[in-house]
Subunit: 318 residues, 2 copies
């Protein structure tokens, strides 16, 4: 209950990416009230500082945004949540490895708490987006689910028995599950036949351009449009992605037993080209396993920000 | 602290199998004090009673064993734990599907509690054996582990973040993960290329007899002995099993992030023929993943009974 004289409490939500960083303010109802997007300052590298500069840059950016967007006495920022792609230990607030940011074994939550004078937490980008879909979005009420955003890469947030799996940051790397449809192709991770080689947005582009020559490489959205217009090569690119996804989902269903799989990320816009084939493969391959329903993300590209807000709110003493 | 005048509390532990059932008494220190093995009475089937007779048979057998083996006032049985192969909902005490016993949607814990006048619980055979290895055995102290018994079939008990995964009984069906080494072979479950087709004890026998003709089908132990004596076909049978296990473990490591994989079951006696190849495949296939240590079960074939005892103790009000 907020009266006119009490400031509205907000948390700062941050989606840190390798290229851009989104910073927003989120209220108790998970509404994003203000948002900005700035280029990420990477300070690691051969002559860099091991990424420490990125931590202080991030603290300054959040502080400046909060200062500009949340004027006292009307609004008061009471916590923060930051999501990061990589292997994240959210309990200790440490990034174990975030290659896109240049962070290896870097403490992030502690220094930000000190800089901002606020409680807060960091989390894995995909797991945190999954938290949003689970607690507030497409999979609300489910105790066993996968959230699988199909973006440049693929990872999964996995909820089993009403708990989001962490395993010190190692759980749910579905994009690096080897699948037959990816054959012996070598992944950016060094692995062989990883799902994301053929089933991420980048993978669909690769599937398409392997068999066709272009002056300009089309986007996954353009390839989806071509597939809908009857372009056979584009249809094949999505069929390969769907087959690979089905193979990985069969594995995940066998091991995690989800009731629901929530598809998110950019490629979820091409669900019409993916889901029928996946359902067909489920018909063929699932036997005693519990068959999950396949649904589309409720928050779309905002799932990460909403989840970062939840991280923030969970850090604020009630 | 037990004085001479107080009876020693014990729990009845039961390992219900499709052919034989083991019943034992277990003390607070997980020591098995008495044990018997009786043929399982299956009452389901075309003209059967849907397996209800097996429930009452089991109650009678436990009661008779307790009567005979735990004389008052020296000993007192205070609870029971029963492990069952299949899809088990341990929370509701219901067996969803146990094909070997002929149970489909059968309440088990409730009727046994009523018959015996004792608190108790049922659990999945493999998950419960994994509970024993985790809490008292080879993986004590680990928060992220797999327990994988290699027997007639293969399943896994999975602990993530210090919790044993259930997913309403559907979690951890590692034996039915499709792996390239099993090709297009069809599993008893109806699935294609499931791990256990080539990597269970039965699978090793099948791998061997596919390429060799015998008057008498050898056991997995005999094939292991032949492999150690230089029999190339026997060595190939274990190599195929090890390759398939490595493929499944790479998947499980990528999705669950375990620190430890505990190998149990009959084939753990042939670990010398399996582990070197699995480690080699880990060298080749694991990249950013956390590499687990591979260790051998501490309780061997008694892991299930020790786990059933834990189920019993966990049901007893303290």
């Amino acid at each position: 209950m907020t009266t006119e004289s009490e400031p509205t409490p907000l948390v700062a939500a941050v989606d840190l990416g390798g290229t851009y960083t989104k910073i927003g303010l989120i209220d108790r109802n998970a509404t994003v009230l203000a948002e900005t997007k700035v280029p990420t300052k990477i300070t690691a590298g051969p002559d860099g500082d091991g990424g420490l500069g990125t931590v202080s840059w991030l603290g300054d950016e959040i502080a400046a945004f909060v200062e500009a967007e949340a004027p006292r006495p009307a609004q008061q920022v009471v916590g923060f949540g930051v999501i990061v792609p990589g292997i994240i230990n959210s309990e200790s607030g440490t990034v174990i490895a975030a290659p896109n940011i240049g962070w290896y074994e870097v403490e992030v939550a502690g220094p930000l708490t000190e800089r901002l004078g606020l409680p807060g937490a960091i989390g894995h980008d995909v797991r945190t987006a999954g938290l949003a879909e689970w607690q507030l979005g497409a999979a609300r009420g489910s105790s066993n689910l996968l959230f699988v955003p199909l973006g440049t890469g693929i990872a999964a947030a996995v909820v089993v028995d009403g708990r989001l799996l962490e395993a010190d940051g190692y759980a749910g790397e579905l994009g690096h599950t080897p699948v037959p449809a990816a054959g012996e192709l070598v992944c950016a991770c060094g692995g062989i036949g990883c799902l994301e080689i053929v089933a991420s947005a980048a993978g669909v582009v690769r599937n398409y351009t392997r068999v066709t020559n272009f002056d300009r490489v089309p986007s996954a959205e353009e390839i989806a449009a071509s597939a809908r217009n009857g372009d056979h090569a584009a249809q094949s690119a999505f069929e390969l992605a769907a087959t690979a996804l089905a193979e990985a989902f069969v594995i995940a269903v066998t091991l995690f037993g989800p009731e629901t799989i929530v598809i998110g990320g950019g490629l979820s816009g091409a669900a019409d080209l993916l889901l029928p084939r996946i359902e067909q493969e489920f018909d063929r391959r699932l036997t005693f396993q519990r068959r999950p329903s396949l649904i589309i993300s409720a928050f779309g590209s905002q799932a990460g920000m909403v989840g970062a807000g939840l991280l923030g709110w969970n850090s604020v003493p009630s």
